[in-house]
Amino acid sequence: MRARFVAGKVFGALGTFVFVLVFNFFLFRVVNDDPTGKLFRGRNLSQAQLDRRRQEFNLDGTKFEQFLAYLKQTVSGNLGDSFLSRRPVTTEIREALWPTIALVGTSTILSMLIGIMLGIAAGWRRRSKVDVGATSFAMFTYSVPDFWLGMVLLAFFAVRWPWFPTGGFEDAGSTATGLSALLDQAHHMALPCITLTLAYIGEYMIVMRSSLLDTVNEDFLQLARAKGLRDVAVRRRHAVPNALLPVVSLSALNFGYVLSGAIAVESIYSWPGIGQATLEAIRGPDFPMLQGLFLLFSASMIIANLAVDLLYGLLDPRVRGR
C-alpha cells in the first residue's frame, strides 16, 4: 500500500499547514487585538499613517472579515509589505534566503558528519576514553548558548588574533567577482560556521552513540562475529547501517531548522540572512515581516517532517505498513 502511505502523510502535512495558517492569524490578530498600537508607541505618526498601516495589515472589520482578507492575501502568495523597508515581505525574505542556506546548510552537514563519526567511535567502545571525552564534550556544548559561543570565538579569533573578519557577508565595498569573491565570502562565513557546527555536533553524537548502543546486543551482530568477521567489518557492515536510522531522521528534521536555527548567531556576526532579518523585524516590530517569517519557518519544518516520514517509509519496511 505504497501510494496510500504517501498520500496519508502528504494530507497530514497539508492539515498541519492549514493549522499553521489559522494559528498565524490568531497570533497576530487575536492574542494582541491591534498590534499596530504597539508599533507606534513612542513614535510620532499621524492618524492617517496609522490608518494606512492598519489597513495594510487588514485590521479593519470584524475578526471573521479580517480572517478572510488574511487568507485571501496569503494564499495568493502575497505576504504584505514590510513596515520598515516598505518592500514586499516575499522580496525581503528571498534576498536573505541564500546567505542563511549557505551558512546553516554547511554547518548542519559538517556537524552531522563529525557528530556521526564521534558517535560511532564513542558507542562502539563504550566507557573508553574516546567515549567519555565525546560525551562530556556533547554535554558541554549542549549547555553553551550558541550566541555566547559566537561572542567568545569572535573575541578570540577576530579581535585578539584577527584571523577572521568580525562580521558581514563580504569585505565592505568589495568589487571582487568570481573565485576571489567566493573565497572572501567563505572567509567571512568561517567563524559563524564553526560556531554553529560546534553547537550542533553534540546532538548528532549523542543520538548516534545511543542508537549504536541499542544495536550492539542484537543477534545479527553476534552472528556476524560468530562468522569470524573482523571487528571493523562488523561495525561498518552490520552495526552502523542499522544504527543510522534515528540519525537520518534527526538530520532530515534538522534541515527544517536550517532557516530558523541561527537567529542569534547571525546577529552576532551580522550575517545578512534570515536570522538577521528576524532580529530587525523584532526590533521594529515589523509585524508583516514577522508573520511572513513565521509562516516560512513553520512551512520548512512541515516539509522536513514530511521528508522524515517518507524517508522512514523508504528505509524501514516495518513503518510502511502491509
Partner: protein, 312 residues
C-alpha cells in the same frame, strides 16, 4: 515500580495503612538518596545548583540593588577591569558587572524553574487526559500536540514574545506555551501502559470512580517520569529565556544573564576586549544548565531501571 521490592525488607511496625505508606515512602527516599550519592557528577551538579540558589536568594545582601542602576553608578569608572571595589569590573555605564551577575541569577533561575513547572503542568494535564480518557479526547489532544510539535520552537517563542508585552510573566508564559508538547506525549505514553495494569482493573472492579483511579493509581505512577522530565526541562527553559533576553524580548526592567550579554554585545565589549563584561554571565548559564543536566540524568537513571542496567 521499583519501590515494591524495596519495601519487602522493611518490617512494618504498625499495620495502619497510613503509617505503612509513610514508611514505604521514607524507605524509597533513602534508597533514592543512596543511589544518587553514588553518582559523583550529579552530586557536583547538586552542589553547584545549591550555591547558585543561595546566591539568587541572598542577592540583596550580597550586592545592593543600586549597583544595577546607571544613575547611581554615574561616578564609577567605565569599562574598569576587575579589581578593587569591582570584583568583576564595570560596564560602559559604570555599573558593577558583579551586581548584574548576582541579580541576573535570580531571573534565570526563577524563569527556568517556573516556566518548567508550568510547561510540565500543561503537558501532564494534556497527557493524562488524553491517555486516560482515550477515544476522541485522545485523538483531538494528540492532533493538537502534533501540530504544536511541528511549529518551530524558537520562532514561535519570538513571535509570541513580540506580540505580548515585555514582562517576566510573559516570558514564563511564552516558554510554557512553546514547550509543553514533548511532555504531553511522554506522559500520555506512560499513562497508556499504567492503565493496562491489573491493579487499575482491580480498583475499577471494586467500584472506584475515574477521579480516584487517576489520583491514586495513575498519577503516582507517572510522577517519577514527570520529575525526571522536570529536571531535564529546566535547562531548555533557561536557555530559551537567555536567547529571548539576548534578542531583546525579555523584561527590560530586570537584570538577567541574557540581558547582560545583549548589553555587552551592543556596547561593543568584544571589540574593546572587555571580557569581564560578557564572560561571567555566559559562564553562569553554562554552569547552571550543566548542573541541571547532570542532576536530571542521575534522577532519570535511578527512576528508570532500564537505563540503570544498559544505558548511558
Amino acid at each position: 515500580m521499583s519501590d515494591a521490592d524495596e519495601t519487602l525488607d522493611v518490617a512494618p511496625t504498625t499495620f495502619s495503612p497510613r503509617a505503612f505508606r509513610w514508611q514505604r515512602r521514607r524507605a524509597s527516599a533513602a534508597d533514592f538518596w543512596s543511589r544518587f550519592r553514588g553518582d559523583r557528577l550529579a552530586l557536583l551538579g547538586l552542589i553547584v545548583l545549591l550555591v547558585f540558589i543561595v546566591m539568587a536568594i541572598a542577592a540583596p545582601w550580597i550586592s545592593p540593588k543600586e549597583g544595577l542602576s546607571a544613575v547611581d553608578s554615574i561616578d564609577n569608572p567605565t569599562w574598569a577591569p576587575p579589581g578593587r571595589g569591582y570584583p568583576l569590573g564595570t560596564d560602559n555605564l559604570g555599573r558593577s558587572v558583579a551586581a548584574q551577575f548576582v541579580w541576573g541569577s535570580r531571573v534565570s533561575l526563577w524563569v527556568g524553574l517556573s516556566a518548567t513547572v508550568l510547561t510540565i503542568a500543561i503537558g501532564a494535564a494534556v497527557g493524562v487526559t488524553a491517555g486516560f480518557f482515550g477515544r476522541w479526547t485522545d485523538a483531538t489532544l494528540m492532533r493538537l500536540t502534533d501540530w504544536f510539535l511541528v511549529i518551530p520552537f524558537l520562532p514561535l517563542a519570538i513571535v509570541l514574545a513580540s506580540v505580548l508585552d515585555r514582562s517576566l510573566r510573559n516570558v514564563v508564559l511564552v516558554i510554557a506555551i512553546t514547550s509543553w508538547p514533548g511532555t504531553a506525549r511522554l506522559v500520555r505514553a506512560q499513562v497508556l501502559t499504567v492503565k493496562q495494569r491489573l491493579y487499575v482493573d482491580r480498583a475499577r472492579a471494586l467500584g472506584a470512580n475515574r477521579a480516584h483511579v487517576i489520583r491514586r493509581h495513575i498519577l503516582p505512577n507517572v510522577a517519577p517520569l514527570i520529575l525526571a522530565n522536570l529536571t531535564l526541562a529546566v535547562p531548555i527553559s533557561i536557555l530559551t529565556e537567555t536567547t529571548l533576553a539576548f534578542l531583546g524580548l525579555g523584561d527590560p526592567t530586570r537584570a538577567s544573564w541574557g540581558k547582560t550579554l545583549e548589553e555587552a554585545f551592543n556596547a561593543g565589549a568584544i571589540s574593546r576586549n572587555a571580557w569581564w563584561y560578557y564572560v561571567p554571565a555566559g559562564a553562569g548559564i553554562v554552569m547552571v544548565v550543566l548542573a541541571f543536566t547532570l542532576v536530571g540524568r542521575a534522577i532519570e537513571e535511578i527512576l528508570d531501571p532500564r537505563l540503570r542496567e544498559g544505558g548511558a
